[in-house]
C-alpha cells in the first residue's frame, strides 16, 4: 500500500497497515455517509481495529503515547478521505488529551485511560449549552452532591445545544459548574458512561455539511461517583489543552478537506492539459494561485502546531495561559476556517461543472459543504469579540 519513502516520512502509527486500511474504509463510505447523514461507523470500527482510539493515551496506561503532531497527521489523512471521520477522530483525541494532561493524581482517570485503550472507547464532548450564547467558559448546568450517598455520588442535568456523535459514543465529557452555588465560569469536566446517563436528543442533525458527525442537541442527565470529576479547574484545561488542541486538530481537518479539493482540481487541470498537448490550459493559472493559498494555509497550521508543541513541553506551561497565546490560537482558528472555504471555492471554480456535480472524480461539493462548518464551530465572530477585548492589553510582537 505505502511506498517505502512514504513509510519513512509518516510516523509509524499512520503508516501502519491497519490505519491505511481505515483510510480506505473512510474513503469508500464517505459519499454515502454524507448523502444519508449517518455516522461513519465502518471507518470508526476500522480505527478501533487499528487501536487508534487509544493513540493519545500514554504508554504507561497501554496507549501509543502519540503526541499532537502524530494525531494531527492522522486527522489530516482521515479528513482527506472523509471529513466527518476525521472530525470524530479529532474530537475524541481532544477529550483524551484533556484527561491525560490534567488528571493530576486521580486513580479513577488512570484506570479509565486503561479502559479506553482496552475497550477502544469513543468519547464525545458536551461543552455547548442552551442559554450561554456559545460561550465555552460559562455553564448553567451544575454538579449537585448527593448527601450521604454510598460512594459520594453527584448528579447533573445539562441541555447541550450540540453533542457530536452523541448517539454513537461510549462516554461523554461534560462541562458543568463545580457546585450549584458556583459562578458560571467556575467549571469542571465530568466524564460519564452513556450507561450511567439518560440522553434525549432534542432535534435532528440534517445539515449542509459535516453530516456524518451526527451532532444534534441533547438533554443529558447523569448520576455518578464524584471520582469522575477531573481534579483540575476547567479554566486551566481549556487554556492549556482543550482550546489549543481543538483549534490545531480542527485546522488539520480543514487542511485535509482543502488538500483533497486541491488534488481534485489539479487532476482536472492535468486532464485538460492532456487534451491539448503543448498548451497550458487557462485553469492552470487558477491552480497556481490556489497552490499559493494552500502553501500559506499549511504554513499557518504547521507553525501553530510547532509553537504549541514547544510550549506544552514545559511543565507547567505558563505561556499557554497568557493573553498573547489566547490571541494567537484564536487567530489560527479564524484564519484556517476561512482558508478552507476559500480554497474549496477556488477548487470548484477550477473544476467547473465537473466539480459542481455530486459524483465523479472532480466533485468538490461535499468538501465545500463540509468546509462551511469551519467558521461556525465556535463562531468566528465570538473569537473576534474575544480577541478585540484581549488586544486592548496585548501588544503583538513580530
Amino acid at each position: 500500500m505505502s511506498t517505502p519513502l512514504r513509510a519513512i516520512e509518516l510516523p509509524e502509527l499512520t503508516a501502519s497497515e491497519a490505519f491505511q486500511r481505515a483510510l480506505g474504509v473512510a474513503a469508500k463510505h464517505a459519499d454515502e455517509v454524507d448523502r444519508r447523514g449517518r455516522f461513519p461507523s465502518e471507518a470508526i470500527d476500522a480505527l478501533r481495529a487499528a487501536g487508534a482510539l487509544g493513540w493519545g493515551v500514554p504508554h504507561e496506561y497501554g496507549g501509543a503515547g502519540a503526541q499532537i503532531d502524530d494525531l494531527a497527521d492522522a486527522t489530516f489523512e482521515l479528513s482527506r478521505k472523509c471529513a466527518a471521520t476525521g472530525m470524530v477522530f479529532a474530537m475524541h483525541q481532544i477529550q483524551i488529551a484533556s484527561i491525560v494532561r490534567h488528571l493530576a493524581d486521580s486513580i479513577w482517570f488512570r484506570n479509565y485511560l486503561r479502559r479506553v485503550v482496552r475497550e477502544q472507547r469513543l468519547i464525545a464532548s458536551a461543552t455547548s449549552e442552551v442559554g450561554v450564547g456559545g460561550d465555552l467558559r460559562r455553564s448553567i448546568a451544575a454538579i449537585q452532591r448527593i448527601p450521604d450517598s454510598p460512594g459520594d455520588l453527584v448528579r447533573f442535568e445539562k441541555k447541550a445545544s450540540t453533542i457530536s456523535y452523541g448517539a454513537h459514543a461510549d462516554d461523554l465529557l461534560t462541562t458543568v459548574r463545580c457546585s450549584t452555588t458556583a459562578d458560571p465560569s467556575d467549571q469542571v469536566l465530568i466524564l460519564t458512561d452513556f450507561a450511567q446517563m439518560e440522553a434525549e436528543p432534542t432535534g435532528e442533525w440534517d445539515t449542509l455539511g459535516m453530516r456524518g458527525t451526527c451532532s444534534p442537541g441533547f438533554v443529558v442527565r447523569a448520576t455518578c461517583p464524584a471520582d469522575q470529576v477531573l481534579p483540575v479547574p476547567f479554566a486551566i484545561i481549556a487554556a492549556e489543552t482543550m482550546v489549543p488542541f481543538s483549534h490545531i486538530l480542527w485546522a488539520h481537518v480543514w487542511l485535509g478537506i482543502s488538500t483533497e479539493a486541491f488534488g481534485r482540481a489539479q487532476n482536472f487541470v492535468r486532464v485538460q492539459a492532456r487534451q491539448n498537448p503543448g498548451t497550458t490550459p487557462p485553469s492552470a493559472l487558477r491552480l497556481s494561485e490556489l497552490s499559493v493559498r494552500m502553501a500559506e494555509f499549511r504554513a499557518l497550521v504547521q507553525s501553530s502546531m510547532q509553537e504549541y508543541m514547544s510550549l506544552a513541553q514545559a511543565e507547567p506551561s505558563p505561556v499557554l495561559s497568557t493573553i498573547g497565546y489566547a490571541v494567537r490560537i484564536n487567530n489560527l482558528k479564524i484564519a484556517a476556517s476561512e482558508a478552507t472555504v476559500e480554497t474549496c471555492q477556488s477548487a470548484l471554480r477550477i473544476c467547473g461543472f465537473a466539480g459542481y456535480g455530486n459524483a465523479g472524480p472532480y466533485s468538490v461539493g461535499r468538501h465545500l459543504r463540509d468546509a462551511y462548518s469551519a467558521t461556525l464551530m465556535i463562531a468566528n465572530d465570538r473569537l473576534h469579540a474575544t480577541n478585540a477585548a484581549l488586544l486592548l492589553v496585548y501588544r503583538e510582537g513580530k
Partner: protein, 94 residues
Amino acid sequence: MLPSTESQATEAQKRDRIRQIIKDHAGLGLDFEKVAYSTDLYRAGMTSYASVALMIALENEFELEFPDAMLSRSVFESIDSIASAIESLQRVTQ
C-alpha cells in the same frame, strides 16, 4: 524596625488600591467585602472580559505596562498575585 513597619504600611496601601480597582472593574457579583488578599478572583466570578478591564485600570493607576509574559491568569488571580507582579515591575523600573 521603623523601615520595615513603613514598608508594611505601603504594602497594605498598595493592596487596598488594587482592591479598590478590582471593586470598580472586575465586575464581581458577590458581596465585595468577602474578597480577601488571597481570594481567587476568577472563581469569584471575574470573566476574561472583566480581567482585561482590570488590567487596563491597573496599568493606568500604577503607571506601568504589563509585559506579555505577565498577561496570564495566574498573575491576575488574586490581590496578592497582582501586588507581587506590580512590585516586580516597579523594582525593574527603579
